[in-house]
């Protein structure tokens, strides 16, 4: 399957989706002008990945900041992850960032996917 690699910018996150090496990570800042358009390739990639997923998938969110428009798309990604077997989500937050920790907890309450919370 093709690899998605996007370098992070001041308003878009770094994205690395690499099935062969088992790396699935979205990190940095997410406040794109058009969130739906920006995350479309990720959702399309996931649609293909879930046809033939790895035995285990650890999906990493390591966001420094995301806007409310991105939060809807993060929920869309998490909803797609629900149908992947042996999936875990690692939700990273900066150790003094309670808002990011709480945001992760709220997402975990909205979907049926196991979350692990980690600080960086």
């Amino acid at each position: 399957m093709e690899i998605i690699f996007l370098e992070g910018t001041e308003d878009t996150p770094k994205i690395l989706l690499d099935q062969k090496n088992g790396i699935f990570e979205i990190s940095g800042r997410s406040l794109p002008e058009d969130s739906a358009e920006f995350y479309k390739p990720v959702l399309e990639w996931l649609e293909k990945y879930k046809q033939n997923p790895n035995a285990q998938t650890n999906w990493v969110f390591k966001l420094e900041y995301f806007n409310t428009a991105s939060s809807k798309l993060i929920l869309d990604i998490l909803s797609k992850l629900e149908s992947i077997p042996n999936i875990t989500v690692s939700w990273y937050f900066h150790e003094d960032d309670e808002d990011m920790e709480e945001a992760g907890e709220e997402f975990s309450e909205l979907v049926e996917v196991p979350f692990e919370f980690k600080t960086y």
Partner: protein
């Protein structure tokens, strides 16, 4: 030339650290954010407060960017204003932009609903909107306002001033405590 000095005095009196007036785009949003971030950094602001201010600024600025398209057809020269004030005990993030008179009741209703909710109520409303189960949400500024109120922990202050041409000037004020 006196207006320059007057404006300078007003800015000092209100402790405004940043004022932007004009066209709002994603590029301008990024520039304003970068300026405000640098400003807070150079003043040695605490990171949790910086993050909350950044958060409110993004929602505020992106709301204006989205409203632009609606008002541009009716308003020959579109102008909006964005300001940040810094007091000893709080940051004040304010914006002002023209909106259609027809959007005023909807905006008022959303803001009044948000201001009537406590912390838990805001959290539930936030979840309902992102899940798409809140039927009152029609792609408007609802989620951004909820997030601003959550980050602030205080009611959002707002006002509408009629411009007598089918438009109203929408002012919005959010405070972030520095304590």
């Amino acid at each position: 030339m006196k207006y320059i000095y007057d404006l300078h005095k007003t800015m000092l009196a209100r402790n405004l650290i940043l004022v932007y007036e004009g066209e709002f785009t994603q590029e301008i949003t990024k520039s304003v954010l970068a300026m405000a971030e640098r400003n807070m950094e150079s003043m040695g602001e605490e990171s949790s407060i910086k993050r909350k201010v950044f958060n409110v600024m993004v929602e505020c600025l992106q709301n204006i960017v989205k409203h632009c398209e609606e008002t541009v057809e009716t308003n020959r020269k579109h102008t909006a204003i964005f300001m940040i004030g810094k007091q000893d005990d709080e940051y004040v993030i304010t914006s002002g932009n023209p909106v259609k008179d027809s959007s005023v009741p909807m905006l008022r209703e959303k803001l009044e609903k948000i201001n009537s909710l406590d912390k838990e109520g805001l959290k539930n409303l936030y979840k309902d909107i992102i899940k798409g189960t809140d039927i009152s949400e029609k792609g408007g500024a609802g989620l951004g306002f909820v997030d601003m109120a959550r980050k602030s922990g205080r009611p959002l202050e707002f006002d509408f001033e009629s411009l007598n041409n089918g438009l109203s000037f929408f002012s919005l004020k959010t405070t972030i405590s520095r304590q």
